[in-house]
Amino acid sequence: MNPAISKTVLQSFDKTVSCNCYYERPGELAELQVRHDLPLIPRGGGMSYCSASALEGGLTLDMRSFNRILNFDYKLGQVKVEAGICIGELNNFLIPSGWQLPVLPGYPMITVGGCIAFNVHGKSQYKIGLFMDWIEQLTIYHPLKGELVCSATINEEIFNLTIGGMGFTGIIVNATLKLKKIAGNQVQIEARKVGNIGEAVRLMKEKAYDYDYVYSWNNFNLSGRSFGKGIVYLEKIKNGFTESAKPVKFLNRLYPPRQGPPVLNRFTTYWMCQVYYQLSRLKPVSAIQNLYTASFPIYGKEVYYHLFGKKGFREYQVIFPHQNWEQAMSSIRELIRVYKMGIALASLKFFKGKTHHISFSGEGVCLALDIPNNQTSIDFFNALDQVTIRYNGIINPSKDSRAGAALVKACYPGYEDFKRAINHYDPQRLFVSELRNRLEL
C-alpha cells in the first residue's frame, strides 16, 4: 500500500499561519515518495506554534506512523524509539519500570522527533537541562545522503546540528534516549498562593532545589501591588509505586482546533484569570497526582486553547538574566498598561545553561505570555522585542510565529554559525519550512 500525497491546509498551533501544502503520511521509510521538485519538512504531533512543519507549496511528511519502541535497556536506563512516538505513550511505557523521560514539554501528544528538532525544555530546565542532554544516539535520513547514525562521538557535527536543527538536516528516524530513574509513580503537588510577581520569584528561588519541578501561574491583568498575583507550583515525585496510579490513554483533544469566534479578549481574559485563581483557592494546597498526567500540565485543560477560536493566539517566551529581571519586568508591566493588553496566561520558570544554535536556553527567569491574536497583539510583541534586546533577553523562536531573523540574530550569538552549518550540510535546501524562510536560515 502506497501512501497518498494529498493537498491540504496546515495551520500553526497558534493558528496565525496557514500553509497550502502537499501532505504524505508514510508508513515505512521505503515508502517515502520524495519529490525532488518540492521542498520537504517532517511533521510530528503538529504542535509547533511557529509553522515549523509546513511550507506554502512544500511537502509535509507526517511521521506519526514511526512510533515504535525498538529497544529498552532497563539496567542502563536507555530506550531506543522511532521519532514519531508521542512522549505521553513513551512515558506510559517507562514509568512502571521506574524510569522516565527527564525532559517533558507540556502536552503528551508531542513526538520525540519534535522534542529533538526543537531541543525542548521541561518544567525543571534549571536542574536537568534540555532534551539534548539526554540524547545518546540518532539515526537520520536525508534523501540525497541516505541513513546516517550520529552521536556525540560518531558524526558529531551532524548530531549537534540535528538537535535543535528544526528538521533541516533530514528526517529523524530513531533516537536512543537516556532516562531518569524515578522513585515513584505519584507526584506531591503544592500550590502556594503568592500576592504578586516579586513574591512568586522569591518563593521559586527559595524552593528551586528542594523540589523536582517549580513553575508558576500569574495573573498579569491586575494592577498595583497585586500585579502577578498567582500560584507557585512546587512538585516532588513521591517515593513508592502504587497500584492506583495507572497509565492513561492519552487523546489528542487539541485537534481538530475550534474554528468558532474567539471567546477570549481583553475583558474575558481578566475574568478567566480571576475565576481560575478563585477556583484554585478552593482546592487543597497540597495534593497527590498520578505521575502519568501530572507530567503534562496542559492535558485536561485543552479548552483554554479552544477559547481563542479561529483567530488564534500568540505566545511570547523569553528568558531574562536574573540581574535584569526586575527592570525588564517593570518595562513589560508598563507595556501591558499602555497597550491595554489582556494577558490570558503568564507563567514563570527558571533556566540555567547556554544556548545551542538557536535553541531556547540561557540563564535566568523564563516568562511566557499568551494573548489573543489581533493587530494590537503584534504591536505589543514588537514593543516587547525592544525590552528583550535592551535587557539581554533571549526569545523562544519556536513559540512565536512572528519573530523574524533580526530579533533571533540579536538574541542568539550562534545564529550565523547555525545558518552556515545548515546550508553547508544541505546546500540544495531540501528541507524547508515556513519557519526557515521567516528566520532567513
Binding site: 500500500m1 503520511r25 508508513g27 506512523s65
Partner: protein, 247 residues
C-alpha cells in the same frame, strides 16, 4: 483471549492496529507483510510492551502462488501451533485506478486485493479445518456498488468477498468461522490530508470492533455501522439515477 493470530498486511494501518489490540489481550502474533524490516521494528515494540511471542513472516502478495501460499501456511502453523485467528487486512489502491485507466494497474490491484488473500485464506482453511478458528478478510465499502472510480479495487474486493463466502459454504460443516468486514474511510497513510465525505475512523477503533466480533456467527460486518444503511440506500437507487451520481 487465548490462541494465536496471524495478520497479513500487519505493517500498516488496520493490520498494525489489529496486532497492537491483539497484543493487549496477550495474544501471540505472526506479523506478515512485504516489508520485513518494518515488521521487525514492530515485533520489537510489541515484545517490549506486551511480553508476547511475535513472529515475523514476510510475504509478497503480488508474487504469491499456490505453492508459496501452502509453504507460508505450513511455516505459520509451525511457528505458532495454536493459531486460531487469521486476519487478511492487506490492500492496495492506486490513484490511477480511475475509469478505463484501471487496466494499467489491474494485475497488481487484483494480486494484492484478491489473488494473494484468496490463496492464503484457502490454504489456511484447509489447514485449520479440524479446529475452531476464525478467518477474517477486510473488504471495503467500495464493494457495495460499482462506480467509475477505483474499478479494479472494488472488483477485486468483491471477488475476495465471494471467495470467502464460497469457503464458508464449503466448510460449513466444520467449526471454521469466516468473516468479511466492509470498512469505511480510515485514517491511514492512504487518506492522510484528504477531505472525505465521511469521518475517517481511527484504525485502532476498527481493530477493537473486529476483535469484539471474533465470537460472532455473522458473516458480513460494516464499520462504522451506518455504512449498512448507506449500502441499503445505494442498492435501492435505480440505475437511471445512479448513473448520474458522481462520488
Amino acid at each position: 483471549m487465548k490462541g494465536s493470530a496471524i495478520i497479513i498486511g500487519a505493517s500498516q494501518g488496520l493490520g498494525r492496529a489489529l496486532a497492537y489490540r491483539l497484543a493487549e489481550h496477550g495474544t501471540n502474533c505472526i506479523l506478515a507483510s512485504r516489508n520485513e524490516e518494518g515488521l521487525w521494528d514492530m515485533a520489537r515494540d510489541l515484545t517490549e510492551k506486551h511480553k508476547i511471542k511475535v513472529v515475523v513472516l514476510p510475504v509478497n502478495l503480488e508474487t504469491l502462488d499456490a505453492s508459496g501460499a501452502a509453504k507460508f501456511v505450513e511455516q505459520s502453523c509451525i511457528e505458532l501451533n495454536d493459531l486460531d485467528k487469521v486476519f487478511v487486512t492487506a490492500g492496495y489502491v492506486s490513484e490511477a485506478d480511475d475509469g478505463p485507466g484501471a487496466k494499467n494497474i489491474l494485475d497488481k490491484t487484483n494480486a494484492i486485493n484478491y489473488r494473494g488473500p484468496a490463496l492464503l485464506l484457502s490454504a489456511f482453511s484447509e489447514k485449520l479445518k479440524d479446529q475452531v478458528a476464525t478467518l477474517a478478510a477486510v473488504s471495503s465499502i467500495a464493494a457495495i456498488r460499482p462506480r467509475g472510480k477505483n474499478i479494479g479495487y472494488a472488483a477485486s474486493k468483491i471477488a475476495l468477498e465471494y471467495h470467502v463466502k464460497g469457503l464458508a459454504h464449503f466448510f460449513s460443516r466444520q467449526s471454521l468461522r469466516f468473516q468479511i468486514y466492509r470498512v469505511g474511510y480510515m485514517d491511514t497513510g492512504m487518506s492522510a490530508g484528504k477531505k472525505l465525505a465521511f469521518r475517517k475512523e481511527d484504525p485502532s477503533r476498527v481493530a477493537t470492533f473486529m476483535i469484539k466480533q471474533l465470537g460472532s456467527q455473522k458473516k458480513l460486518f460494516y464499520y462504522p455501522r451506518y455504512w449498512r444503511f448507506i449500502a441499503w440506500i445505494l442498492g435501492l437507487i435505480p440505475w437511471f439515477i445512479y448513473k448520474k451520481l458522481r462520488f
